[in-house]
């Protein structure tokens, strides 16, 4: 049980302590890496426990269940928690090795890790909102990190306002859930929402969808995303797209599939349409851009569409695809954003692994994401959906390699970029690429955990395998 509190407590206290120190000093940076490493290790240990014994639960303050705030770890939560903390760790390591440029950077990353860990491990609706804000606020500050803050500040303001609006809409949905069900405990709420009046639950569902759609950068809510990703430094872009965007995917899965399954099914058609538009819009925009980070930003919008489509297909196949795809996508984006900021020998190789993974070419991890998505498309028995998935995949192949050529093969690009980046940074990026290939070669742990998460969601949805 302490295992449930420890990762959260370590990183939270560490963040508070390091906030007082100058993060530009190397020792402080490494202390932050150590704290975050402890957090990841604790989460992995907790994950092993979950895989063995199933869901772990703890009611804080020894209150009876239903009164105190619940912390809970199940397959879905722990998978996203480990993933997000690991991405944060890689990004923090990258920035510490490259040289931290602001005194607050390490502690902000730790605060975000605390928020994300808590968010994925909470079983309480309002607590979810609190951790949600705790992880978003560092993101608003981090989005102006690095040089040329003057040029980024306008985009950061829009980022903050749009996401805050999403947060408060989510808060209104939480209030609505409490009023309808009389509880904030997620599992009790899920049971009682099933019997509640459909009209009011639908309103709650729409609020939740808007909140997480904004966070994930789905098509109609995406406009804040490209300027932020383009302006951010490589490490921050990796954090935003690899760790923070997980909130959107996790929120849609947790709330859509586990809490509001009937509403998810009712809105499935609309979600497929929004997801498809997202896929096509992201791919088309990415195809027309020349700047690596701009391509990646629009690609992120398109990839979010796949997750939504898989979620809308539903059932075990659909949820499985959504989980696998979300995990793989976040690793890909972290790798690509980090590699895009580097120059020199073997960086192209790391980038190309990420590009293969986005396009879904074996033996990269992305292959299994694409397979799962296609399985969901087959389960839906819709030719149109399969065609769309194929076209989307082909387009992603085209834009990834177009930008790869543009960034790494042109002699001017190679010459104009100046000296090669430090070897440690290239090594780190290559290591991340190796992990993605390793997942592609030995995908069983990921598939088993995602399968567990999908069983859980499909069980909650009452659907079973379709």
């Amino acid at each position: 049980m302490t295992l449930l509190v420890l990762p959260l407590a370590v990183v939270w206290l560490g963040a508070a302590a390091l906030a007082l120190l100058d993060g530009r000093r190397r020792s402080v940076g490494w202390a932050a890496v150590a704290v975050l490493g402890a957090n990841v290790a604790g989460l992995v240990a907790l994950g092993a426990r979950v895989a063995e014994d199933g869901r772990q639960e703890l009611v804080t303050g020894n209150w009876p269940r239903g009164v105190g705030i619940t912390l809970a770890a199940d397959e879905l939560g722990i998978l996203f928690a480990v993933l997000s903390s690991a991405v944060l760790l890689v990004a923090l390591l990258y920035e510490v090795l490259a040289g931290v440029r602001s005194r607050t950077f390490p502690s902000l990353v730790l605060f975000m890790a605390a928020g994300l860990t808590g968010l994925f491990l909470t079983g309480d609706l309002f607590n979810f909102f609190v951790f949600f804000e705790l992880s978003m606020i560092p993101a608003y500050v981090l989005s102006v990190y690095g040089e040329q803050a003057r040029r980024k500040i306008g985009a950061a303001f829009i980022f903050a306002v749009v996401n805050l609006l999403g947060s408060f809409i989510f808060l209104i949905s939480v209030a609505g859930t409490y009023h309808v069900t009389g509880t904030l405990e997620m599992r009790d709420a899920a049971e009682r929402l099933a019997d509640a009046e459909p009209a009011s639950v639908m309103l709650i569902a729409v609020g939740v969808f808007v909140a997480f759609g904004v966070k994930l950068g789905l098509f109609p809510f995406h406009f804040w995303l490209p300027p932020i990703y383009v302006g951010a430094t490589p490490a921050v872009a990796a954090i935003l797209s690899g760790a923070l965007a997980n909130i959107g995917a996790y929120g849609l899965l947790r709330f859509g599939a586990a809490l509001l399954p009937a509403e998810l099914e009712l809105g499935a058609r609309a979600l497929v349409v929004i997801g498809s538009v997202s896929i096509l819009y992201g791919a088309m925009q990415a195809l027309s851009r020349r700047d690596v980070r701009e391509v990646l930003a629009y690609s992120a919008i398109g990839q979010a569409g796949y997750i939504l489509v898989a979620l809308a297909v539903g059932g075990r196949v659909g949820f499985f695809a959504a989980v696998v795809y979300a995990v793989v996508n976040s690793a890909n984006k972290a790798l690509l954003f980090l590699a895009a900021g580097l120059r020199g020998w073997l960086v192209g190789a790391a980038f190309v692994v990420g590009a293969f993974s986005v396009a879904g070419v074996p033996p990269s991890a992305g292959f299994f994401g694409k397979v799962a998505i296609f399985q969901a498309g087959v389960a839906e028995e819709s030719i149109a959906l399969l065609v769309l998935l194929f076209v989307g995949g082909a387009l992603s192949f085209v834009y990834m390699f177009q930008i790869y050529q543009h960034a790494f093969w042109r002699p001017e690009a190679a010459a104009g970029a100046g000296d090669a980046s430090p070897a440690v940074l290239r090594g780190l990026t290559l290591g991340l690429a190796a992990v993605i290939v390793a997942i592609g070669i030995w995908p069983e742990p990921l598939l088993a955990l995602s399968g567990g998460a999908a069983d859980l969601l499909a069980g909650a949805a009452g659907g079973g395998p379709r």
Binding site: I153, F157, F168, I172, A175, G176, L184
Partner: protein, 123 residues
């Protein structure tokens, strides 16, 4: 009472949304504050019982729902924090661009993009 509450929430949210569509940064911040307060009022309004403050409850007292009050308090603190952050960002925009007008900022953005494109094409 609930009708009055929902009316107030609707007006607050609507006014906030209207202000957020303005180009002036500080109006956007004020709009954000109004929307956050609309959310907090919704929280209060979602309470399940009404009555006296639950400080020292006697057995036959009717009490107001303490949980929504705790949530509202937390939400107020969070709202206060993010408002401070938004104001700080808006102030930074003002000091670096000497303008708080979003239209002007985006015009500057477009101008810079054009320059970049020209540089890309010309050499």
């Amino acid at each position: 009472m609930i009708l009055l509450f929902s009316g107030v929430v609707a007006v607050l949210f609507g006014t906030g949304a209207f202000l957020m569509l303005k180009a002036d940064l500080f109006r956007v911040v004020v709009g954000m504050v109004m929307i956050s307060n609309a959310a907090i009022l919704t929280l209060i309004g979602s309470g399940l019982s009404r009555g006296a403050a639950p400080i020292h409850p006697l057995p036959d007292d009717r009490l107001s729902d303490p949980l929504v009050q705790a949530m509202a308090l937390t939400a107020i603190v969070i709202g206060f924090g993010v408002t401070a952050l938004l104001l700080a960002i808006a102030y930074r925009v003002y000091t670096s661009h000497e303008s708080v007008d979003l239209d002007e900022l985006s015009r500057e953005e477009v101008r810079r993009e054009r320059e970049l494109e020209r540089e890309e094409i010309s050499p």
